[in-house]
């Protein structure tokens, strides 16, 4: 008996449906995108699991001709009769169509919604779609050249580790054929003689002679010669790399309440995710400040609770120092994002100006978000001290952009305003 043909398919690439999935996501891209962005406001984006997305089922169902369930005479045969007799009547449920029929009260809920899962990456893709960091290439292309080795054929000299065995062997074959010339007549004669020979002792003798001749020939023409050697050739190719450093500056002073901090953190969280997934070569530096400023790591930045007064210039000073120490401006693009409630010591304004005049020329972009009071946008325009200070600079520096956020749900919109791909 022949056994079955058993195939283990588990090792096949698992994403057979990927193409179909992509087609589905593409088709409803706009709606899924909207849904995904709305969901940022009511759930965290740090948990990197699958995200459940709900969109309206409109346009998603695939219609077929059906018998209209609201009309006509239908007969069903049902299982599980209890005590009905012919002629009995059963009350129909008040609302809903099928009642106890085939459609039997199932799937009533969620008829107008379509729910499914997006992977974390797909989810972030949708959130950050159309966004980019402006002017990233500008400086690095001009000044920063990194070399990358690229294959460029073969060469006759090189490092033993780059020896190309196949090419070397091929060169050897060619050389051997060329050097041997026409076959040695002596060898040919001998071979013919061996073929005809019937005497045992003579045959051994002839064979020995042939072996000797062949060995001599091989001695004359070496199997491999230095001229055969071929090496893989690599040439350095200049490759512009996009190298950037992003400063995230957050005010953690007393005046920043829980609400303000939450909004600021959410903004930076988005920013951080955006940067991490968009650019490979980017350094993110977190700076928090109250009266004094300090560089801190990601976790401390997002979780720490400190209070005190606010001196913005302390952060600017800190940044300047870091730039001078670690990020020479001809090698790095510098981006700054700053979040604050706008409070600052009035006397600090001039100092801020002074630092900003030094920082702005070396920055590609400065994004300032101000977390305003919930009502302020609607009531009257109320300029905080820092907003005032910075807006005086706006005429001078077009790459200083400022936005206000009042509600947590606005974070994503404001974020998009900063980084919207310019429609050039």
């Amino acid at each position: 008996m022949v056994g079955p043909n058993i195939v283990d398919r588990r090792l096949n690439p698992p994403d057979k449906s990927l193409g179909n999935r992509r087609r589905f996501l593409d088709r409803f891209r706009e709606r899924i995108k909207d849904a995904a962005r709305k969901q940022i406001s009511d759930r965290g984006i740090t948990d990197s699991g699958n995200q459940e997305i709900t969109i309206g089922s409109d346009g998603i169902e695939e219609p077929h001709f059906t018998q209209d369930p609201k009309a006509g005479d239908w007969d069903y045969v049902l299982p599980g009769n209890r005590d009905y007799l012919p002629g009995d009547s059963i009350a129909k449920p008040k609302s809903g169509s099928g009642g106890r029929g085939r459609s039997g009260g199932k799937g009533q809920s969620g008829e107008d919604e379509f729910q499914f899962l997006l992977s974390y990456d797909e989810y972030l893709d949708l959130i950050f779609d159309d966004l980019m960091l402006p002017d990233l290439i500008k400086k690095s292309e001009k000044t920063l050249v990194q070399h990358q080795l690229r294959r460029a054929g073969f060469t006759t000299s090189g490092n033993p580790s780059t020896l190309n065995v196949e090419r070397t062997a091929m060169a050897g074959i060619g050389r051997r054929i060329a050097l041997r010339g026409s076959r040695n007549q002596e060898i040919i004669d001998l071979e013919q003689e061996i073929a005809k020979c019937e005497d045992e002792t003579l045959l051994t003798e002839l064979n020995d002679k042939l072996a000797e001749l062949l060995a001599a020939q091989n001695r004359r023409i070496s199997w491999l010669d230095t001229v055969d050697l071929r090496y893989n050739n690599f040439v350095p190719q200049p490759k512009p790399i996009t190298q950037a450093v992003m400063f995230c500056i957050m005010d953690v002073s007393f005046s920043m309440g829980e609400r303000e901090k939450t909004i600021a953190k959410k903004f930076f969280l988005l920013l951080h995710l955006f940067l991490k997934r968009t650019y490979k070569h980017i350094d993110v530096v977190f700076v928090r400040h109250h009266e004094t400023a300090e560089e801190c790591d990601e976790t401390m930045f997002f979780t720490s609770k400190i209070s005190g007064g606010t001196i913005v210039s302390s952060a600017l000073e800190c940044i300047q120092k870091i730039i001078t120490d670690r990020y020479s401006t001809d090698a790095w693009n510098v981006y700054c994002a700053q979040a604050s409630d706008g409070d600052n010591y009035p006397t600090d304004s001039d100092v801020v100006h002074e630092y900003m005049h030094q920082l702005m020329p070396i920055c590609q972009m400065w994004a300032y978000i101000e977390i305003s009071r919930e009502q302020s946008e609607m009531m009257f325009s109320y300029n905080t001290s820092l907003w005032g200070t910075l807006s005086e600079l706006q005429n001078q520096y077009s790459h200083l952009s400022m936005q206000q956020i009042a509600y947590e749900s606005d974070v994503i919109n404001v974020f998009r305003k900063f980084f919207a791909r310019s429609k050039a």
Partner: protein, 495 residues
């Protein structure tokens, strides 16, 4: 050493091999089954979702709707709202059985008995499958279809191919000639003929709409505005009709119509034999697992596990149970086939009165003959016995949808009701119960207007018209199209 086929609930490939061989022995030598060669493929749960969101086939053309199913299934599976099938079996030769890696050894045995022998025998022997499908050609045809669709996407744009397929899919229930045997599928022939067909069809279409009349007779008819008699017979296969006669659509669009139609053909027997197919596969696994136990090849524990599994698959909730979603085809089919066994063994007076043919019959032979020569509808009409009706406590309810207050009970499981219940349940498995009958009855050669007639039964009405009209119009090359009822009243039309 014991004879046990396995003694661990984590299976190994050796276990599978032994199980298969033992099942095969019983299936072929004791049950007399006749199967295609089997190919057993072990897959992971993700691959299982992959598989049944590409309509269960090993390969299928790409379309967004399969992606939609995938994201949905994935959600309900990952949230624990639904489990996955233990297996998928494909009507092909060799017969491909997908079994899931998560299954326990007992489940694998059940699945092999069920699919690799039960379904496999059914595919090879049932008359509908034999006439409608070509098991050895299907995989090749799917490869052809996938490649062709991909080619079209490159040539004519993914978007236009996608929307065209949407329209084709919308009519996939109307892609079979129920009363005519289809031609067999074959990839080489398909590919070879596809090119010729493109050119030929295009010429045929223009022939049909030629305005210059070829003889005097048609001139007089033209002055009436219409030529009677095209199509000569009403055509219920809408996909076929559009493929052949739709004016002004591209050759590739015709070919896609054909692909969707061919797939509708292939799946048609499955739709018509759900109860028998699942019933027979369940009976087969039941017989095989029992024999394995009798032969001492499986432990009592494994047998109990099988019984638990078997009864959960065959669970039939009552009509008022929250989980009721209609008749469970496994349960109904299994109950009926088991009853044939019972009647052959110990017929009662009632049985002999209803089924004189069972007298002295060999039950396995009778069952194999039955499943070879019936569809669900005829199977129920002929073999639903009073015993099964009583066991399932079947009763029938009349629902006049215009009456919002009540249903009325018409017949129940008693002497007066058996015949009626049998016919009503059989009617439930008629294709026309689910798919409205639509036929192309007329095409006006002058205006190219197409008329489709809906035939209503039992005062039913055609649903979903508004959503379907754009698809119809698209398939008819944007020429006027309308749907009329039997009285000729226009239900909907599109210029």
């Amino acid at each position: 050493m014991s004879n046990l086929l396995w003694n661990n609930s984590d299976w190994t490939f050796d276990d599978i091999n032994r199980i298969y061989t033992a099942c095969e022995d019983i299936a072929l030598n004791e049950l007399g089954l006749n199967c295609y060669p089997n190919q057993i493929e072990v897959i992971s749960s993700t691959q299982m979702i992959d598989a049944y969101t590409s309509v269960g086939m090993p390969i299928y053309y790409n379309h967004w709707s399969f992606g939609k199913q995938f994201v949905q299934e994935q959600r309900s599976y990952s949230q624990g709202k639904s489990g996955l099938a233990f297996e998928i079996v494909i009507n092909s030769s060799p017969c491909i059985n997908y079994i899931m890696e998560d299954n326990t050894t007992t489940t694998q045995a059940l699945v092999i008995a069920h699919a690799a022998f039960g379904h496999n025998h059914f595919f090879k022997n049932n008359y509908l499958f034999r006439e409608w499908t070509d098991a050895s050609g299907i995989v090749d045809y799917l490869i052809f279809a996938k490649q062709y669709v991909a080619e079209c996407e490159t040539k004519y744009g993914a978007r236009s191919v996608e929307t065209w397929l949407d329209s084709c899919h919308a009519l996939q229930d109307h892609g079979v000639n129920r009363y005519r045997r289809p031609t067999k599928l074959n990839m080489d022939k398909e590919r070879q003929r596809q090119k010729e067909r493109e050119e030929y069809q295009q010429s045929q279409v223009s022939e049909l709409y030629r305005i210059i009349p070829s003889n005097n007779k048609s001139i007089t008819q033209l002055t009436d505005g219409k030529i009677k008699g095209f199509p000569a017979q009403p055509e219920e296969n809408l996909l076929y009709f559009f493929e052949k006669y739709s004016p002004d659509i591209e050759p590739w669009q015709r070919e896609l119509l054909r692909i969707v139609r061919k797939m509708a053909h292939y799946f048609y027997p499955q739709r018509r034999t759900k109860v028998m197919n699942e019933g027979f596969a369940s009976l087969t696994h039941y017989q095989i697992m029992n024999r394995l136990h009798e032969k001492g090849l499986i432990t009592d524990g494994a047998y109990l596990e099988f019984i638990a599994l078997h009864s959960s698959v065959l669970f039939q909730p009552d009509f008022d149970h929250p989980g009721y979603t209609g008749h469970n085809p496994y349960a109904l089919g299994f109950a009926m086939l088991r009853d044939i066994q019972r009647m052959c063994k110990t017929p009662t007076e009632e049985d002999l009165k209803w089924f004189p043919q069972i007298a002295g019959a060999n039950s396995q032979e009778l069952i194999l003959d039955t499943i070879a020569n019936h569809s669900d509808e005829s199977f129920i009409r002929q073999w639903l016995s009073p015993h099964v009706i009583r066991k399932l406590k079947l009763f029938s309810v009349h629902d006049d949808r215009s009456d919002t207050a009540k249903y009325s009970v018409t017949t129940i499981h008693n002497d007066a009701g058996y015949q009626d219940l049998r016919h009503k349940l059989a009617d439930q498995y008629l294709t026309s119960t689910h798919t409205p009958l639509l036929e192309v009855v007329e095409v006006d050669r002058k205006t190219r207007a197409c008329t489709i007639r809906y035939t209503s039964e039992n005062n039913r009405q055609l649903g979903n018209i508004a959503k379907m009209m754009p698809h119809l119009s698209k398939l008819w090359g944007r020429y006027p199209i309308k749907i009329v009822d039997q009285g000729g009243d226009v239900l909907d039309s599109m210029e």
